[in-house]
Symmetry: D2
Subunit: 346 residues, 4 copies
Amino acid sequence: MSADMRFGVLTGGGDCPGLNAVIRAIVRKAIDGYGDQVIGFRDGWRGVLEGSYEELTLESTRGILPRGGTILGSSRTNPYRRADGLERVRATLERAGVDGLIAIGGEDTLGAANRLHTDGVPVLGVPKTIDNDLGATDVTFGFDTALQVATEAIDRLHTTAESHHRILVVEVMGRSAGWIALHAGIAGGADVILIPEQPFDIDEVCHLIRRRHERGRYFSIVVVAEGARPREGTLVAASGAADEFGHPRLGGIGHALESEIERRTGFETRATVLGHVQRGGTPTAFDRVLATRLGLAAIDAAREGRWGSMTALRGTRIELVPLADAVSEVRRVPLEEYRRYDVLFG
Amino acid sequence: MSADMRFGVLTGGGDCPGLNAVIRAIVRKAIDGYGDQVIGFRDGWRGVLEGSYEELTLESTRGILPRGGTILGSSRTNPYRRADGLERVRATLERAGVDGLIAIGGEDTLGAANRLHTDGVPVLGVPKTIDNDLGATDVTFGFDTALQVATEAIDRLHTTAESHHRILVVEVMGRSAGWIALHAGIAGGADVILIPEQPFDIDEVCHLIRRRHERGRYFSIVVVAEGARPREGTLVAASGAADEFGHPRLGGIGHALESEIERRTGFETRATVLGHVQRGGTPTAFDRVLATRLGLAAIDAAREGRWGSMTALRGTRIELVPLADAVSEVRRVPLEEYRRYDVLFG
Amino acid sequence: MSADMRFGVLTGGGDCPGLNAVIRAIVRKAIDGYGDQVIGFRDGWRGVLEGSYEELTLESTRGILPRGGTILGSSRTNPYRRADGLERVRATLERAGVDGLIAIGGEDTLGAANRLHTDGVPVLGVPKTIDNDLGATDVTFGFDTALQVATEAIDRLHTTAESHHRILVVEVMGRSAGWIALHAGIAGGADVILIPEQPFDIDEVCHLIRRRHERGRYFSIVVVAEGARPREGTLVAASGAADEFGHPRLGGIGHALESEIERRTGFETRATVLGHVQRGGTPTAFDRVLATRLGLAAIDAAREGRWGSMTALRGTRIELVPLADAVSEVRRVPLEEYRRYDVLFG
Amino acid sequence: MSADMRFGVLTGGGDCPGLNAVIRAIVRKAIDGYGDQVIGFRDGWRGVLEGSYEELTLESTRGILPRGGTILGSSRTNPYRRADGLERVRATLERAGVDGLIAIGGEDTLGAANRLHTDGVPVLGVPKTIDNDLGATDVTFGFDTALQVATEAIDRLHTTAESHHRILVVEVMGRSAGWIALHAGIAGGADVILIPEQPFDIDEVCHLIRRRHERGRYFSIVVVAEGARPREGTLVAASGAADEFGHPRLGGIGHALESEIERRTGFETRATVLGHVQRGGTPTAFDRVLATRLGLAAIDAAREGRWGSMTALRGTRIELVPLADAVSEVRRVPLEEYRRYDVLFG
């Protein structure tokens, strides 16, 4: 084994419960397990580009395990959006005396990591997304927390819906994959679940709600992913439902459904837009353990020079997979899986 | 003491955690304490008008203490909105053999109860509103649960806001009183709190956020009551922010602030609209105990023929106050109290 | 496919969050998916032996998804402990017109199911144990909830330990496998984790606590599985630490450690014995989804006549494995895995 | 108003959720509201005796609002247990340039504060105890959190008790007052509540449990305060149930009841000893708001030179009461109040 080494770590992209647990595990294992050093770059790739970092120690990472967010900060900076990005990354790593980089992030962050690896930079990845839409791992940390938060909200809505005969719409996260909506809908006992993978028909939604009504079920819970969309021409989306990038605006589809269902069925309908509540705060035990295991495995992989790989959960084991696999495709909800749950609804 | 008696109970208005706890306490005390009978009217005053009720027993009220909602159902029906309302109430009570009625509800429900009392109907009230805006009691059950739910949401948002340098807007309930916003803002460590009692100036809000930014606090949490309004002319509210009754639409002010703060400051801003999550689900221990105590006191009061009164918390004691006092004025946040917390913000 | 069928379901052994979710999924899928019927036997195998059961309907299983416990009741009855057990099982199934039986349970319940299968009774299993010690599945439902409850308790203890310079001992469940202790210890940031798989040395435990003290960490959190035991001769267990079956009494090892650590180190030490809090109450979203998926798969398997098999989670998929595999060995924490986390402790 | 002032603050006694919220409010108000300075003494009176303190700033108190424990540390040191205690206190305050002291604590801490006041030291108090047994205030912060934690535990136990026909004993805190047991028992729907104020008869407890059994309620939840005691001669307490000070050992009464109820009734009985889980961790919203208000009022009182007084909640207002009143008597559960809830049990 080589002499003591020095690794850099960064967190990129949107918030995700468990980031601090990964950082802590990396630092503990590097220092106590190998006698290595770790530096943390601030605000994702921006810190690498600008040479902004700090030494991470046992002391500076104490107490962060149960905390949401990331002590390193984050950004959506991508080194390849600057002409001199690659050059700057190399320069920083050399100046900081870093033997390799551990990038914790989602599709964007890991995409940049993979490209840097191809360009010869020693980097490996730890997958992170509350949306659980990365293909190369069974599950990503952060998803379980988001799911739990959404489910607790649905639990609360259930009693009101039932005693007050309301239609309650819950908009959860999920821009291109419906995992949070599907699993929170199953866990919360929703009556309708709308996901980005399957454009919905507002007539069918209202039909289902009315049929429940006829059977004496005077309430319904509709769980909708922020990225769910009506089938072409069936619902005039509320204006302002997209931001300047054409991304759906949080609350867009939730409030559109609220208006449309009330208008069509005449039943009192109310929307809850959980938004960033799903991204922040203390991680569930599941996510803390998974994040910790991924962090420990990442430093082992770095020690072994497994650059270009990514830590992944496969069954009960943490394995290494090529970064390239991780970013090649978004893992969406298969439609046959979505339909398998039909008996639970309505 | 008179021979065995028979009381009716109803729950009216919006949902509120603790309703079932009141019902259970009434039934237990009436049956086990006095050997009395209790019937429950379905869906608030509607059940009284239409003679729709059921016998409540120890068995039928088992297990409901920790559950949100109301096993009796609720509605916004007001007997005085029908010409024959009073007559129908009297007829039902006579037919059902009811010696008196316990109405659990907010301003509307208790307003009707008070008028019925004036018209000679034996009725007393138990106050209920998550908004905590009834003057004659120190606090209403349901408020503590709403507060706790809102505070937990703010806790979650805090870590994201901080690590991702975001402005996060949380819209909480409170149409005409800002108690939930004020207390959840204090408990959650919010940086700006906007309440209906004090029209806000969007320029000041943005100024405060920018000043924090200059001091290195690159995030802010803004808690806004659904009924908070901009000072005349300072913010063009998003269209659709009011429903057909002119009431603010849930999410209206939250999303309006989201757009406006982002547009003016250039800082990424996201809104969470908690909505009915605050009204439903299991009550906090505080609300269960308060609701139980109010229910026990209500049946004692009914037994003593204290019609026209309302149970109320005063300090550590449950007392009886005139129903007329309870509905005479909304208890709003005094502006000097609102300002007292200024040192906590920003 | 055969004409409409009729299946029996039972829940056996200790409590486990998610049992009701399995039952509900089975009923929904059988009735709405296949037009089949389901009956529920009361109190595990006892209901089969005594012919005590009820028809399960959509209506009778409504609202049970988020509830802990089991609407069917449970017991530790084993049909093979009676001479006429097998005969009685056969008689009941015939009388009840049942085409096959779904047994939801742990080692004992599934052991009986496997033996019944060998004896020609059409039965299949759904694995259940909060201890997560069944070999044939990646994870069992109930474990995640127990883990979450234990972790939240450790979170609460942490702040007290730290500000009040205490040693806090948390006894969690796990008679022969240390999964809850290990994962809750990792998730809660414990300083010492003691599991049944590795007899501990009280001297080492005290040494570690003292070393932390010398480094200015004046507190420690010790997580101990109820089945953890001192190395031969190193700790005189508190009398009464075993019940009449020789099983460790809940609280035995926790309180023994409390006394012994305080006596040896002189540091104030306090024990918390979580006990059945880990077995009951609402399941986490993870457990609700897993339990639901297992229930759906069980009815599919029953429909296909896959008797003698058990539903299992493998990676992201629900698969069928032989019942015999499930009960052949207890899945314990591998010692090399236990040691892998050493860098996190102390 | 005098020129800028300088105040000291300390936290004494056992842990209590909300201590950090008081400290933060004091610091914010002193610095931002008055331009004053605050120093924090470490580990209660010990820090005053030994001159160990630190400057508290907006920065050093950031983010502590939702955290359990106390950033200042605590101890059970009492200045009057040293011959030179008073002299040392005076010397430290003079050397530190402190105009007055704010002591946050329970009976012991405030008792010392009151005596110091009598001896001419400028000191005022903020009441703190999870037991809620101080007479001069409606409620103390920390109580609500302890109550909520205990209630959530009972909720979890309920489903297990019910489906598995168990007697579950929950030992909660409360050495000399039964407020936590009483309120958690009411909120959790307990069947038996045992408090220190009323010695219990084990025969009656078992009789009640058996009677429930006869009525088809095959389970019972028994909530017992750690300080509850059997009536003379009715139960031989487990040996080891008291520590060296003669204080009941945590778990003593809980485990004694577990054995005794099982032995006498033959029903499976299990105990949960919540212990310090009730003292630590994040405070409820209620406790955060109350603690914050008390902190703000304390600094106002200090500014006005109201030495010898204590902040207290009276109805909805924070008022000042003499410290002497606060420590003159323990507020116990009145027996007529205890009996008022009888109809809820059994």
